[in-house]
């Protein structure tokens, strides 16, 4: 039977300093990590691939994956010291890469699932590089928006690295 539908309040978003390059969860020595604070509605991602349909004399015959696109992630949150004013541009990387890199993990609480640890479903975003930050003053809380691009994602899985 299907699990319940999740809502935003049941999720968490964490980040950890990455190391090296590639589509694996490699972390720096004693990496900086933490919970992204005050994440607002609208965190979204797009994972896409390019499909080329091979035609056989005018009829679709089979599909081929001709490109796997980098995954775009955008996060809206409220600015606080906990959200890490130093991140994301100042995230450090160890040897093997020139672009500051981190990994993100989105955990969705799902206590009724009962499998794989039984308390949540996890999505990992691997090799995340920052595209932009945007700060906006607001009477309901100053906004701090991130836009990331990552090399790959894994999920949903039954266990997480960060939570």
């Amino acid at each position: 039977m299907s699990a319940e539908v999740r809502i935003m309040a049941e999720g968490t978003l964490r980040g950890v300093q990455g190391s090296g390059s590639g589509r694996t969860w490699g972390t720096a020595s004693a990496p900086a990590s933490g919970l992204y604070g005050y994440v607002q509605n609208g965190m979204n991602l797009t994972s896409a691939q390019t499909i080329t349909t091979i035609m056989e004399r005018g009829r679709p015959d089979h599909h081929k994956v001709s490109e796997v696109s980098p995954i775009k992630v955008t996060v809206s949150q409220l600015l606080s010291y906990q959200t890490g004013v130093n991140t994301p541009f100042n995230v450090l990387t160890a040897s093997g890469a020139t672009v500051p890199m981190q990994h993100l993990e989105w955990r969705v609480s799902a206590p009724e699932v009962g499998a794989g640890g039984g308390t949540g479903m996890y999505y990992q975003f691997l090799g995340v590089a920052t595209e932009s930050i945007k700060v906006t003053e607001d009477t309901k809380g100053n906004k701090y928006d991130f836009s990331f691009v990552c090399l790959a994602m894994v999920g949903p899985t039954g266990s997480g690295y960060l939570s």
């Binding site: 091979i54 056989e56 015959d61 089979h62 081929k64 994956v65 001709s66 490109e67 796997v68």
Partner: protein
Amino acid sequence: MAESFVWPEGTLFIYTGNATPSTSAVVAYAQNTRLPLNYGWDNRAAADGTYYDHRTGQRAELSCGAVMTVDSTLAKMFASATAIHAKFINANVIGSAGFWLYSGRIDNLQYQGNEKNPFTYTLNAHFNQWSAF
């Protein structure tokens, strides 16, 4: 009929030494490849009107555009003007195909750089022997 092949399924190896297929790739992050295989034919009629084809030569021209890697192996191969072999592979979980190219030379190695883009190089080489697999 098997599926066709697409770009992410292919690989290109360039190596020196004997012609045993190598597994050490030196062309990484490849962007474009082109491999025309050419025969030259002398096509003429004999006195009785029968036509004959005599092969006058054969030549393969390999070109590859690739994102610059941290590896300088290709540049060193070019500098030494050594003979190279190439293995040009199309492969997926269903089938495989490609060419071995033997004892060729790098004709041209072109470095390119411009704003907002990674450095790239373009490789051109020629071969006179090949086999398909």
